[in-house]
């Protein structure tokens, strides 16, 4: 039948270009990158200081913290779940690590591992409860958000943990290149690794299958519970790492570390084309989405917009981004 030929043969030139163009636009990240480029030019025209070295550094620095969590959140969303407790987990892990290295006087490395352990453990608890007891992730992780905030107060008694050992200040103050430190380096490496895992590995493909249709994934022999629980643990651990980087940056175990991050992270990755319904999106997209959100926030500050309007802008952008994404899918992918 003619179909066999269809599969192997190459399309004709004109069509091929058209198809490649469509394929290019259909890549989720391209749209967000284009939008971000436009916004950058816009802010720069209004206020050239927007592209000053100092401002760029400030944006990248903030992005590195939330970005680390966004990586985990993207993996978890691809697996078909999401986590609202990441901000609390970041804060709790930071203060626990701070207490371990001050009050308990443990070596800094041990204390940091302790902090990561707290994050991973909370991820494990979230995962077990969602997967094994069937409690929706929304409820479980919202609950964990409050529990985490309470525990931060319990651990610290409401006071920041200060001063921290010198080693921590060294980590926080390091300047590797362009004034960016370890958190940025970690963020880039983690993003590249996670993007590669989702895109190229069997593990990644199985995450997409799990989030796309759990029953189908189970029937082809994927242990979907393990994948989901694993993704929760990854998010928890990454949130903990982000929290400790902020602590190092501040030089103290503040009680407000991570507060409010959960929504920024979710808004950012969604802007970057990661689906809330599971099974779709990439780490590159999620990271670009976060970057775009931060560009807008910073741009509005630089051009002198009142902070209330900044919040409104973030909300509008998120809804618009998702709307555009739906349109893009309809026209370029469905071809209708």
């Amino acid at each position: 039948m003619e179909s066999a030929a269809d599969v192997g043969s190459l399309p004709r030139d004109g069509q091929s270009f058209r198809r490649r163009l469509i394929g290019f636009i259909a890549i989720g990240e391209v749209g967000v990158l284009a939008a971000m480029a436009l916004l950058i030019v816009f802010f720069w025209l209004l206020e050239p200081a927007f592209l000053s070295e100092r401002n760029i550094r400030a944006i990248l620095n903030v992005v590195s913290f939330v970005g680390i969590i966004a990586i985990g959140q993207t993996v978890l969303l691809v697996a078909g779940e999401f986590d609202l407790s990441v901000g609390s987990v970041a804060g709790l892990s930071a203060v626990v690590a701070a207490k371990l290295m001050t009050v308990a006087a443990l070596p800094v490395t041990v204390a940091i591992l302790g902090g990561i352990g707290v994050g991973a453990l909370i991820g494990l608890v979230n995962g077990l409860i969602v997967v094994r007891l069937g409690i929706p992730a929304f409820i479980q992780t919202l609950g964990m958000l409050f529990i985490g905030q309470g525990l931060i107060q319990v651990v610290t008694g409401g006071y920041p943990v200060y001063p921290l050992p010198e080693a921590i200040n060294t980590i926080g103050g390091a300047d590797l290149a362009f004034g960016l430190g370890w958190s940025f380096a970690f963020f880039i490496v983690a993003a590249i690794v996670a993007d590669f895992v989702l895109r190229r590995t069997v593990l990644g493909r199985n995450f997409y299958a799990t989030g796309g249709n759990r029953e189908v994934a189970r029937l082809v022999g994927i242990n979907t519970s393990a994948y989901k629980i694993g993704a929760f643990i990854v998010v928890g651990a990454l949130a903990a790492i982000a929290g400790m980087f902020v602590m190092a940056d501040l030089g103290s175990g503040g009680t407000s570390i991570g507060s409010g991050w959960e929504l920024t992270v979710i808004a950012g990755v969604v802007v970057g084309g990661v689906s809330l319904f599971g099974g779709a999106g990439t780490v590159a997209g999620g990271v670009v989405g976060i970057l775009m959100l931060k560009v807008v926030q910073s741009g509005l500050v630089v051009i002198g917009v009142n902070s209330n309007w900044q919040q409104i802008a973030v909300g509008v952008i998120m809804v618009m981004a998702v709307g555009l994404d739906i349109l893009r899918r309809r026209y370029f992918i469905a071809g209708a």
């Binding site: 190229r200 189908v216 082809v220 022999g221 994927i222 209708a336």
Partner: protein, 518 residues
């Protein structure tokens, strides 16, 4: 024919439609007259579903070219709801139900004016749904949740949903693909009655005997064009097949005899699968064995427990009992174990538990089969692509590329894609649940050929198919299942459809008697 002289109720004029680069329809003229059942035939991907989707607003006005006339007046439907309010009803090919609602609520979904104002009379809904089911001969409790129904039952719910609105034009896109004999008979009785009431019907099917049984006229589509229109006087299965595919099929079922003295491929002892709510009854104390190279069929009615037996063996549902593959015991209860032991399962409902709509065609084929296509956990892109192309070519999957979206494949091509997925691991035991559901005659022939080839290579096959003729023609041995038990068994040439029906009826009568006098 008296019908042909009548004015058409619904007509399509020069309909053309393309999806991106794919031209699905190229200028199709088509019409139905009142009181007629008009068969719309064609191979997978010929454009049948696309045509009926245009005729009832799923593809809205503006997305295609050409005109639609209802009662001779031009109409354009912006949505299925608009078509419905003009008396055009539709049963889609793929199951679309609201899982979280009851059967009755599904039947009346999207309808208003059933109670006082915005309120709905639950009891009235259930009662009316019950009446329709009685009509259709369907034994489904209107209060059951759709989530608990099998896919054949879901299909019946969709049919009831279309009929309950008393349409003037009714389009049925492969309504019988998952139904077995008795349900088909009940459906036909209803269609015949609608016919006497003057309803115009468009009937899409790949089961040619059904066309011979019930249709008045046939239009054959080929590559998006009308290949031929055939009047009832000239109906003939061979003519249909030839005009659809341009091929003449020699024999419907390829020759096969089970090898004598072959080792056992699959051995099942005392398998019990718990039934759950609704109409899924489970299976009790199943003992069966399939030799290497043998094709065994499970015959029975809807809800008799055939699929549950396959699911139990594959570990999809909790089950108890003993399973051996080539003599080695298999730890029962997880698809992972079953797969590791060399068992593969082709599921019945493509949309619900077959396809991954978030992944493209290629990844849908390789999912779960990536181990040999990767090195240290990293997928080898070139190798994956070439094995995808090989699998697509072997099974003749018609898709523009491995990157194409699965939701745009025609039904039969989706089925072949799933076949490609289960065959990629070269299983020792293959469990097939409705392997030819929605597949055209030529492809069906290819699948029969494939099944026999696999058997000749020593695979043991256990097949569930609702079309008894198919099951009996294909299988070396048939097991008849009723109420979750095996009630009869016969080899090739030892019985036909009547034997299956007789043993099912006998088993039911026996059960009835034992219930009456405990």
């Amino acid at each position: 024919m008296s019908n042909a002289a009548q004015e058409p109720l619904l007509s399509a004029i020069a309909i053309a439609k393309s999806f991106g680069g794919v031209q699905a329809l190229r200028g199709v003229d088509f019409d139905v007259v009142p009181g007629e059942i008009h068969a719309l035939l064609g191979q997978n991907g010929a454009g049948k579903s696309t045509l009926v989707k245009i005729l009832n607003g799923v593809h809205p006005a503006g997305s295609y070219s050409g005109a639609i006339k209802l009662d001779g007046r031009p109409v354009s439907f912006a949505s299925p709801a608009a078509a419905r309010s003009n008396g055009v009803g539709y049963v889609p090919q793929e199951i679309e139900v609201l899982e979280q609602l009851s059967v009755a609520e599904n039947v009346f979904a999207g309808r208003t004016g059933l109670g006082d104002g915005a309120l709905v009379h639950q009891r009235k809904l259930e009662q009316r749904a019950g009446e329709i089911f009685a009509d259709l001969g369907i034994g489904i409790d209107p209060r059951a949740y759709v989530a608990s129904l099998t896919s054949a039952q879901r299909h019946l719910v969709m049919i009831a949903r279309a009929i309950v609105m008393k349409p003037r034009v009714l389009m049925l896109d492969e309504p019988t693909a998952s139904l077995s004999g008795t349900e088909v008979d009940a459906l036909f009785a209803v269609l015949r009655r609608l016919k006497t009431q003057g309803v115009a019907m468009i009937y899409i099917t790949h089961r040619l005997p059904e066309v011979l049984a019930i249709c008045d006229r046939a239009t054959v589509l080929r590559d998006g064009q009308v290949a031929v229109r055939i009047a009832r006087e000239d109906f003939d299965a061979e003519t249909f097949i030839f005009s659809m595919s341009g091929q003449r099929l020699q024999r419907l079922f390829p020759e096969h005899t089970a090898p004598a003295g072959a080792p056992t491929a699959l051995e099942v002892r005392n398998l019990t699968v718990a039934g759950h709510s609704g109409a899924v009854h489970g299976a009790k104390d199943i003992n069966l064995s399939v030799a290497a190279g043998e094709i065994v069929g499970l015959a029975g009615l809807l809800g008799s427990g055939r699929s549950e037996i396959l699911h139990g063996i594959y570990g999809r549902v909790p089950a108890e009992g003993e399973i051996r593959v080539a003599g080695d015991p298999v730890a029962i209860g997880s698809p992972g174990n079953a797969r590791a032991a060399g068992i593969a399962l082709l599921t019945e409902d493509r949309k619900r538990d077959g396809l991954l709509f978030n992944l493209p065609v290629g990844a849908n084929i390789t999912i779960g089969n990536l181990a040999p296509l990767s090195r240290r956990g990293v997928v080898r892109g070139g190798l994956e692509r070439s094995s995808i192309l090989a699998a697509m070519r072997a099974l003749n999957v018609k898709a523009s590329s491995p990157q194409a979206s699965v939701s745009h494949l025609s039904g039969g091509n989706q089925q072949k894609l799933l076949f490609a997925r289960v065959l990629m691991r070269a299983p020792k035991v293959l469990l097939l649940d409705e392997p030819t559901k929605g597949v055209d005659a030529a492809t069906r022939h290819e699948i029969y050929r494939l099944v026999v080839d696999l058997a000749e290579k020593g695979v043991g096959l256990l097949i569930v198919a609702s079309e008894l003729e198919e099951l009996i023609g294909l299988c070396d041995r048939c097991l008849v299942v009723a109420d979750g038990r095996i009630v009869d068994e016969f080899g090739r040439g030892e019985g036909g459809e009547d034997r299956v029906l007789r043993s099912v009826t006998a088993a039911q009568a026996e059960r009835h008697a034992s219930q009456v006098s405990p």
